[in-house]
């Protein structure tokens, strides 16, 4: 700015002054298309969503913890569970490795969705939300970018986990398309859950609290399920919880789609276990149907500080 100072010597009063023209050119700008436009078209909506998604992808690149957490931790889980428990837990007609993978997939992507919570809280804390809120962008763009960010992280985790799984002996025993559907269902569920977490993040506003609470709720939720042991082996009360646990439905759906359910394996009586894929799809629809509007409503009223 000192450059402008020297250029504009003499323009000390706030009235129009010819000497200020050079400063004006630097700051006021030359060749800029005039007047920002009001977002109305689908085009600006997509563009806004892409810009905010890119912002979150850059964050993944710049904050190494995220990459470590989303790649190394799933590898560790796959190795720990398959090598430690495969000798202890037997799955009739199948192997524990085959059984456990869907559970690890589900747990990892559900945890991956919590980034949206802590990131929204962090954005509020940093004040960047106030910048976004005063820009003529579409009101859903920040949230779309955020949940897309989680989707990318989760997709990356899935690739890493599946490769590790293949190395330790896990196989997709169904068709290619069923395998694709299994991956898509896991990512879809997690994507919808990201919206839930984004809402929580905007409500709680503290990234630390979000992380701790997510841990306290999601750990039991993923463990009191059929993810790591067959639900029938749990004590009666926990077994009931596990059968209705949405995570169990997700795990069961993934197992079915990957062909990891041994023939004749017992299936829970609950409707959610009888029709796990439908259950997951309904869950996704409910989460998106409720939390997308709630999130946008919250976002257009929120302000930092």
């Amino acid at each position: 700015m000192s450059g402008q100072r020297t250029e504009s010597t003499g323009s000390t009063d706030s009235t129009h002054s010819p000497a200020a023209t050079e400063v004006t050119e630097a700051v006021v700008g030359t060749g800029l298309p005039n007047a920002a436009s009001i977002p109305t078209s689908v085009g600006t909506w997509i563009s806004d969503g892409w810009i905010t998604t890119r912002r979150n992808l850059i964050k993944i690149k710049r904050v190494p913890d995220i990459l470590v957490f989303t790649t190394l931790q799933p590898i560790m889980f796959v190795l720990l569970f398959t090598y430690i428990y495969s000798g202890v837990i037997t799955i009739p007609g199948s192997s524990y490795t085959e059984f456990i993978m869907a559970g690890i997939f589900a747990q990892t992507v559900v945890f991956g969705s919590t980034y949206s919570g802590s990131a929204m809280a962090q954005d509020l804390k940093d004040g960047i939300i106030d910048r976004f809120r005063t820009l003529p962008m579409s009101p859903s763009a920040v949230l779309i970018g955020r949940t897309n960010g989680d989707l990318c992280i989760n997709a990356l985790s899935m690739v890493v986990m599946m490769l590790t799984g293949l190395i330790v002996g896990w196989r997709i025993n169904s068709s290619f398309w069923e395998g694709v559907a299994g991956v898509a269902l896991l990512l879809l569920f997690a994507y919808a859950f990201s919206w839930v977490m984004a809402f929580v993040g905007m409500s709680v506003r503290s990234p630390e609290v979000i992380n701790n609470v997510a841990f306290l709720i999601l750990f039991p939720l993923t463990f009191i399920s059929n993810a790591f042991v067959p639900a029938e082996t749990l004590p009666p009360v926990l077994q009931t919880i596990a059968e209705y646990n949405p995570v169990s439905a997700l795990v069961q759906a993934a197992r079915e789609l990957f062909g990891n359910v041994p023939p004749g394996a017992p299936v829970g009586d609950a409707w959610t276990q009888q029709y796990p894929i439908a259950t997951v799809l309904i869950g996704v629809a409910v989460m998106l149907g409720v939390f997308v509007p709630l999130c946008i409503r919250k976002f257009v009223r929120i302000s930092s500080h």
Binding site: M1, T21, I38, I58, R62, T134
Partner: protein
Amino acid sequence: MSFIQIEGLVKIYRPKGADPVHALDGVDLDVRQGTVRGLLGPNGAGKTTMVKALTTLIKPDAGHATIDGIDVVRDAHRIRPIIGVSGQYAAVDENLTGFENLEMVGRLYHLGAKASKRRAQELIDAFELTEAQNRPVKGFSGGMRRRIDLAGAIFSRPPVLFLDEPTTGLDPRSRLGMWDVITSLVSEGTTVLLTTQYLEEADRLADDISVIDGGKLIAEGTADELKAQIGGQQIELTLMDAADGSVAGEILRRHGEAQPHVGGDGRELSVGVREGPLALERVLGELNAAGIRLHDAGMRRPTLDDVFLKLTGHSAGGEEEQDGEVES
């Protein structure tokens, strides 16, 4: 023609488990197109609340405000393309570089990829951030962050600019640079609403000044009009010994227009007087007779600081905590 029009604006915060705060308590304000309006007030006066209400960040509880005839609540989506905002706290993405931050702002104003890049570079250079432009903002100093934020505010050359304490945290050189930026924008026709704790800044930049306190407008006018309210001249004394404060204060009170003001460890006293030179002569004579030794004595025209003090009973910035009235 008034460009920003505010009528009876009310904002009540209702913090959980505490009494409601009337942050804005029925404020009327008109800002003419192409002028700078300075908003002055002590901490907690409602300045930031005003800026937030006008920039669509919060919804007022009553009253209404328009910018260029557009209602800020009902037509918030039509307000956002025409405003530029730099809030009290820099609103930047910590993980993006300075350049990426600005480019993103341009893209979200829908200025296109090429124009956004070009403009981002132009502003980075103008704000002397060229060296740091490819570093994440996380590692920026407060002043550098502030400059990125301000660059974001003027990115699209908006017709209306809201600046909430734009030079707080800037070094003197950057502050002068910022003043030039604002001056040149105004010469191009930009309308500016600016809050500040620096009265010198308001004096230099603002065409009109509004003083608010406790959510209410308490004075309005040009800097000169406000100073005229205080009247005459000020006598200022610095004592060698603070122990003489009460005697000196009593002498000043007798010759002054109001209660003398005391600051600087009780050694600095000032009071507004009518006939400056005559009053100064008498005061000095009496002080001499009382055997009070002076470090410094003089007369000056009132500043906005005096106006601010008189109107709000607080000093700007709240720094001089030992300020108070002389007991007599």
